[in-house]
Symmetry: C2
Subunit: 284 residues, 2 copies
């Protein structure tokens, strides 16, 4: 059932013992489906939101071409176990004159995707804060694919003592390893083919760590070499950081303790489409 207004959300919250929430920008894929299924398992009722949030797009970014199909989204969400699809008008989220923002400050907010998308995460943390206040779920679900986003939202929820558990679910991939993204639909046949190098690069790094400790800089070079081999793919960043808080890493241990898991992260333009991906290099 599609709902549009906050009163309906309040009624759902009031009547539900445990409520799971999956915020999305729509054009759902199997990655979203995995979040909804997880929410279905863990909660009595599940709300999925579909809202393409303008404040997380920069002035020259792709909000105009961001793919949309609410009928298909509704069918997929319900089929995966959603009870309600919250599909608000922009004025419901941002009433006229709204000018309050939630920002995570510090190094974590100025690295990786934040470098090429300066106000992106301010838009993300603000809209997620708003949606959490509206839905008041017990648990909210995000994908590991947007690793920096997931960590920032966990940090926001912790720092502001928000009464919600933030659950991060594994990346879902295509048959050839490409991470699912609503933006994959924009890739031409040749771009789609070359895009798998992102996964391969991450896999290269992971394989090298299996046998012995590796310098992070060496692994980054291996990954860059793999990606630079593909003429339609242009690197934005390739980095290795601590999975826990995205702090810098110099050596990736083959067998780390559980607090020192390393994460390789890539972002690249494939034609006109910006894709991101990441992989834990030394998980147990």
């Amino acid at each position: 059932m599609i709902i549009k207004c906050v009163e309906q959300l309040k009624n759902i919250r009031g009547e539900t013992a445990s409520l799971g929430f999956v915020p999305t920008m729509g054009y759902l894929h199997e990655g979203h489906v995995s979040l909804i299924k997880k929410a279905r398992q863990e909660n009595d009722q599940v709300v999925v939101s579909v809202f393409v949030n303008p404040t997380q797009f920069g002035p020259n970014e792709d909000i105009e071409t961001y793919p949309k199909n609410i009928e298909r989204d509704q069918a997929m969400a319900v089929s995966a176990g959603a009870d309600y699809v919250f599909y608000p008008h922009i004025s419901t989220i941002y009433p006229e004159g709204a000018s309050t923002y939630v920002t995570v400050e510090g190094p974590i907010a100025n690295i990786l995707c934040a470098k090429s998308r300066p106000d992106h995460f301010k838009g993300v943390t603000t809209v997620v804060n708003i949606l959490l206040n509206m839905v008041q779920p017990d648990r909210v679900y995000f994908g590991q694919k947007d690793a920096q986003q997931a960590i920032l939202i966990q940090k926001m929820a912790r720092d502001l003592h928000m009464p919600v558990d933030v659950v991060v679910c594994p990346i879902v991939r295509e048959y050839d390893g490409l991470a699912l993204s609503s933006r994959n639909v924009h890739l031409t046949r040749e771009e789609r083919k070359q895009a798998q190098c992102l996964y391969q690069a991450l896999q290269d790094a992971k394989n090298l760590v299996k046998s012995k400790d590796q310098k992070a800089a060496d692994l980054v070079q291996v990954m860059k070499n793999r990606i630079n081999h593909k003429p339609l793919v242009n690197i934005d960043y390739v980095e290795i950081r601590e999975a826990r808080d995205l702090s810098p890493v110099t050596v990736v241990k083959a067998h780390p303790d559980s607090h020192k898991v390393s994460l390789a992260l890539v972002a690249a333009w494939v034609g006109k489409t910006r894709l991101i991906d990441n992989m834990f290099l030394n998980e147990e």
Copy 2:
């Protein structure tokens, strides 16, 4: 009963049909008491917090000398109708590494007190957001004395769709009109005497508006003249603004419609103590 941890707050929330919350920085006076009494009338349970929030003090401000007396505060709060006094350690509010902030942007955040206290309101909106997430009250109570704070918090709650009613209660004054403030305790006998000029100035403006419409600039001059007559009192600002959103006012109508109520606001140093006060000039 004094409580220190968030688990206790969650239990209170879980067991209470309606919960009122009065956040304070302690050293309670009759202004706080009026908020607690109001909360008592409107809710099944009442939580008062006492937390001197470091992030709302500037580097050269008076956090070190801010008056403290938790035993007295507890007795006054309970006597006024509080069920619980939440008296958290600083690390409960701001765990190590916390760096998430809630800010209201726009003109309202750059005028009046924000000019002489640049990061003050960022600290206020952040700590109030945190406390509201911890306590999860149905209603939260603030005093009109801190007019800009009250409007910013109402705006934050509205913009972020926080599930709480923000209730603003009238200023409580001493016999001679001085607005109650925890900082009044710092005034010397002579400063205390001269400080009443702030109230008198506001009253001057209000009296002038009773008979006919007045230019805001003329009223400001009358108020400044009254205050400048007192050698121990140094004006920070004297302004007249719309009560609703603190937007500028040029003419104060003797008989406005309800959306155009004007508010006169003053801030001044009385010796080393900074005091603020305000008055609606043309309420029905």
